[in-house]
């Protein structure tokens, strides 16, 4: 095992994950690390499906800051975010066997599940509160504003932030309103006074630009 790998293994698991996702696939040791870590989350999830509490703890540690941070950005309330994150991980514990590696990465599976619950919660709260001021016209904040420095390796965050900054304002706004404020694309078009076709194409173009910029498969 080479030195890079050894160093990575000595880090807490979540940093290994972030570090590994950051590494460019240049055909050397680094690429191996990326694959290894990907396999790790898959393996953990498989062990969680067998009701292995240690694997669950490792999976939680590896993903909690991403999951909680995303949920908190959608819900904008500490208590709701904590409850929803708890529900998300209990659901992972119960349904890990339904994860199919062929349909995407383990991290994408977790975050999709978490985002679904966060959006359901924000819509339920909005319905309940008739869009009170907490969820109403909050000014859009950029993701970087919420970041706690210690959590994610700086370079990974910077890379993502740079890619977000590379979007046009309208692309970024469409993605923000839909993904982080839980709006439907119809609501986004109302909010922005833009027609539906425009909103759909800005979302699609924005996602494609992000995907290219981040080098996602």
């Amino acid at each position: 095992m080479g030195s890079v790998v050894t160093q990575l293994l000595e880090r807490p698991f979540d940093q290994r994950l972030d570090r590994a996702v950051t590494l460019p696939g240049n055909g050397t040791e680094n690429e191996w690390v990326l694959r290894m870590t990907t396999v790790d989350l898959d393996t953990l999830l498989r062990r969680v499906a067998q009701r292995d509490p240690e694997a669950f703890a490792a999976l939680y540690d590896a993903t909690r800051s991403r999951v909680y941070g995303m949920v908190a950005r959608v819900l904008r309330d500490r208590g709701y975010s904590e409850e929803t994150t708890q529900d998300v991980y209990l659901q992972i514990w119960r349904t890990a066997e339904s994860y199919d590696p062929a349909s995407g990465s383990a991290l994408a599976w977790l975050l999709t599940l978490a985002h679904r619950r966060a959006v359901d919660r924000v819509r339920a709260e909005q319905a309940a509160s008739q869009r009170d001021s907490r969820y109403g016209a909050t000014t859009l904040e950029r993701p970087a504003d919420h970041v706690s420095d210690a959590v994610i390796a700086g370079e990974e965050r910077q890379r993502v932030t740079a890619c977000l900054d590379g979007l046009t304002d309208l692309q970024r706004e469409c993605i923000d309103l839909a993904y982080y404020q839980g709006m439907t694309y119809v609501q986004v078009s109302e909010r922005l006074s833009a027609n539906l076709a425009t909103v759909k194409s800005r979302m699609r173009d924005g996602l494609r630009a992000l995907r290219t910029c981040l080098g996602v498969g």
Binding site: Y60, D61, M70, R94, V147, I152, L164, A178, R211, L214
Partner: protein, 239 residues
């Protein structure tokens, strides 16, 4: 790649909103119907796009990463450490099963007698077990001003919930804590807890949630009241 003959390009335009959960329930259902009718090639193209969006947003999550409160880890780990629901055989030891599920919520479970229906049935999975297994399970927790916390895990589909109280100070002598499910038609008693039942950790099963919107806690004289008369010490919204 080979999408030159795509029959319904408009359908493909909805892949991004679909992947971002930016469709209403009815829009999503309608879309899934159209997809089923559009054939395999279209569905493949659609879900490829959905996958790519979700992988991208998984990477983007680095930008919003934030540490959750530390207590959450302990709560989750004790929940799963005690959750052996799935490994139970169907007919044996239901009481143990119920206790394990209850313990899944409480950091430490102390069995207590409280005036709430705890009815582990010999035949069916216990209420707590059903709540845990429900697809719409939700958790609400709140601090009780006098001290301690109350957490309710509940399922509307199952019409039931499990209440866990930790470190709540006992009621004054001669009084009990009483729980009320509050709906449009007013509060309905959901049981009482006396000093013995309260500390340091209590679990109780709540059945018949009905259309209740809140779980309210009051202090009541003697062994409880038919309608709340005393001070409200806490309320948890059941949404």
């Amino acid at each position: 790649m080979t999408h030159s003959q795509v029959p319904d390009p408009e359908l493909l335009d909805l892949a991004v909103p679909y992947a971002l959960h930016a469709l209403s329930d009815s829009e999503r259902n309608a879309l899934e119907g159209r997809l089923a009718a559009a054939g395999l090639a279209m569905a493949d193209a659609f879900y490829d796009e959905v996958r790519a969006v979700r992988e991208t947003m998984a990477v983007v999550s680095a930008a919003s990463a934030e540490e959750p409160p530390v207590e959450l880890r302990g709560r989750l780990l004790s929940a799963v450490a005690n959750d052996n629901v799935r490994s139970l055989r169907p007919s044996k030891r239901r009481r143990t099963a119920w206790m394990s599920v209850a313990a899944a919520l409480a950091v430490g479970l102390i069995t207590v007698g409280i005036g709430v229906s705890l009815r582990p049935s010999a035949q069916a999975p216990s209420t707590a077990e059903q709540v845990f297994a429900a697809s719409d399970v939700h958790t609400i927790s709140g601090a009780i001003p006098a001290g301690g916390t109350a957490t309710v895990v509940f399922s509307r589909n199952r019409n039931a919930g499990v209440l866990v109280m930790n470190d709540v100070p006992p009621p004054s002598p001669g009084t009990v804590y009483q729980m009320w499910l509050v709906g449009d038609s007013g509060p309905i008693s959901a049981g009482t807890m006396d000093a013995k039942a309260v500390a340091p950790s209590t679990t109780a099963v709540l059945t018949e949630l009905g259309s209740s919107k809140k779980l309210r806690f009051t202090v009541e004289p003697g062994s409880g009241s038919t309608q709340p008369t005393g001070q409200i010490i806490a309320e948890l919204p059941l949404i």
